[in-house]
């Protein structure tokens, strides 16, 4: 039972990450490969603030989100001005830079060993030591993320984004400032990924750089793609499916290294098959193009 609660909490955190990817790719049609970097910025900021200054979860969460948003703006503005694959390449470069900072900035991040000893947070005088209490806490943020994102997507802001996605020139012709909309949704998504990172580090109690590699970004992409683009329920479904299936592999007794590669093979083949036969994902509304 405790294991089940652990798994659903993990799923909840990855639902937030998938939503953050879906916002950028599904609603704005922009291909980002650095959601894991923002995830890591949230996690590392919280861990460093907690251990060095003893700040509480909310302060760290806000600080992490602020740093992620700032990085997002710096990357997005120059690369979104340009047509074509520049944005994709820039997000990839950011992903590599951030991972290397986690790995090599030893005075701050403790390098490859990572940071240990983050205790569960105190919320209104109770420490969330049990998995059930932390699950409820996480669920609160997942619901918040889902409802805020769906409000944004269904409001005129989201409609404008969809219009830009479908026909950029037409949207510009009716007077929409395209760059501004794209940068805003990217920053909005970065903030959610960063908050997921804060929740993750307080849940696990430790961070190390290898949790935020390029492969993690591709995994988040797979969840968003399999679930479906342009539909937030798709991201929830995708996270459940893609986290549950590899868990089943654990019951087939095989060495961890082989299981790890089999997992990657499953994600890779999923991406190819979905692109071939169902590019809109399981319950998506938008076929990426």
């Amino acid at each position: 039972m405790d294991y089940l609660l652990y798994m659903v909490t993990i799923m909840g955190i990855w639902v937030m990450l998938a939503i953050s990817m879906n916002l950028v790719l599904g609603y704005a049609g922009l291909f980002s490969l650095c959601q894991a970097a923002f995830f890591g910025v949230g996690a590392y900021t919280s861990a460093i603030m907690y251990l060095n200054f003893g700040t509480n979860l909310f302060v760290s969460a806000i600080l992490g989100a602020f740093i992620s948003a700032l990085i997002g703006v710096i990357i997005a503005i120059p690369s979104l001005r340009l047509k074509g694959d520049y944005f994709f390449i820039a997000t990839l470069a950011l992903q590599i830079i951030v991972f290397n900072l986690f790995l090599n900035w030893e005075p701050l991040t403790k390098g490859p060993l990572g940071i240990y000893g983050v205790l569960r947070p105190n919320i209104f005088g109770t420490r969330l030591n049990t998995n059930i209490s932390y699950f409820v806490f996480t669920l609160f943020f997942v619901v918040l993320c889902y409802s805020l994102s769906s409000r944004v997507c269904n409001a005129s802001f989201g409609m404008t984004l969809k219009a830009i996605r479908e026909d950029e020139i037409a949207a510009e012709a009716v007077g929409k400032h395209i760059l501004k909309f794209k940068v805003l949704i990217f920053v909005f998504s970065a903030i959610w990924a960063s908050l997921a990172g804060t929740l993750y580090v307080y849940f696990i109690g430790a961070v190390d750089p290898f949790a935020f590699e390029l492969h993690e970004s591709i995994f988040i992409l797979s969840i968003a793609i399999v679930g479906g683009m342009g539909n937030l329920r798709g991201s929830v479904l995708g996270a459940i499916v893609l986290i549950a299936i590899p868990e089943l592999l654990k019951f087939a007794a095989m060495p961890e290294s082989i299981a790890h590669q089999l997992r990657n093979l499953i994600y890779g083949v999923c991406l190819i098959l979905f692109m071939m036969f169902r590019p809109q994902g399981l319950i998506g509304e938008y076929r990426i193009d």
Binding site: I89, I218, N264, L265, G268
Partner: protein, 291 residues
């Protein structure tokens, strides 16, 4: 005089990186497919050489030639299995990119399952080293520079003088027009994937011989070099990409002069971001009239 050594190492790595960039740019510039799976084409190229040279025990030159054949076939197979069916369904660039990422991940998992993730030794034997003005130059480094200069001059002649080369360039400029003139874009695409993948195999192998080892991640590093190179050198511009690759190689070695080696990647990608910020069209104007 460590700086002279760094410059020389930079030249060696720079020539290898320029070949990386050319192999990617030939495919990207003409087919417009953002061929992320090319990363694993690099890796497989080095592993094919490893199989023939180390496991089978053949000499290095025939190993490389066989690896080129196998890697070219792999490139064409990716086009046949992944890109062609998708393009027949009128898939857009994002769909192709996601499928390409999926191919990359799958192939990497397969290579890791067969060979494990451990580092393998692939060396061209301990050649003699000469010292020129306190710079140590190994035999293999001279072979690398010579081979790549040879390949690059051959490519220039191929694209400027031969009919096949001209057709490939024509396809890159305007595929419909090329079709009007009786070329088969389908056939040309296969030729492009074969050439690009074959070159990738040579480049990845030469880099492995210079460093001495291979692992399943070498392709990703090579691919990232390609991305920086095409941004620095200008998209869809093959000589620009080659120059971009050379610059990346120089920068990554010269940076060791001032900072620790582990910061290489951060410096290289910061250069990319800086170019995007200040000179987004690339350092060289995209010379469309030249290949």
């Amino acid at each position: 005089m460590a700086i002279l050594q760094l410059i020389f190492n930079g030249i060696v790595t720079g020539t290898i990186f320029s070949l990386y960039a050319i192999s990617f740019s030939i495919i990207y510039g003409t087919t417009k497919i953002f061929h992320f799976a090319h990363g694993m084409v690099f890796t497989c190229g080095a592993y094919f050489t490893y199989v023939f040279h180390v496991l089978v025990g053949m000499n290095i030159v025939p190993s490389i030639l066989l690896s080129m054949v196998f890697t070219s076939t792999l490139g064409m197979a990716i086009n046949f299995i992944i890109y062609e069916p998708l393009q027949r369904r009128k898939a857009g660039p994002l769909v192709l990119l996601v499928a390409s990422l999926g191919t990359y991940i799958s192939l990497q998992a397969i290579i890791s399952l067969i060979f494990t993730s451990n580092v393998r030794v692939l060396s061209g034997g301990v050649g003699s080293a000469v010292r020129v003005m306190s710079v140590s130059i190994t035999e293999i480094q001279l072979i690398i520079i010579g081979t790549i200069i040879g390949i690059n001059s051959f490519l220039v002649l191929f694209f400027l003088k031969t009919e096949a080369g001209l057709s490939i360039r024509a396809l890159g400029e305007d595929s419909e027009l090329a079709e009007v003139f009786g070329m088969s874009p389908r056939k040309i695409k296969y030729i492009i994937f074969a050439i690009g993948s074959g070159l990738a195999s040579v480049a990845a192998t030469l880099n492995a011989l210079d460093i001495g080892t291979i692992d399943p991640n070498i392709g990703l590093e090579a691919l990232l070099v390609c991305f920086v190179a095409i941004v620095v050198g200008g998209m869809e511009n093959i000589p620009g990409a080659a120059a971009g690759g050379f610059i990346v190689g120089m920068i990554s070695h010269l940076s060791i002069w001032q900072v620790e080696a582990r910061w290489q990647q951060v410096i290289v990608y910061s250069v990319l971001i800086a170019v995007l910020l200040f000179k987004p069209e690339g350092l060289f104007k995209s010379g469309k009239e030249r290949i």
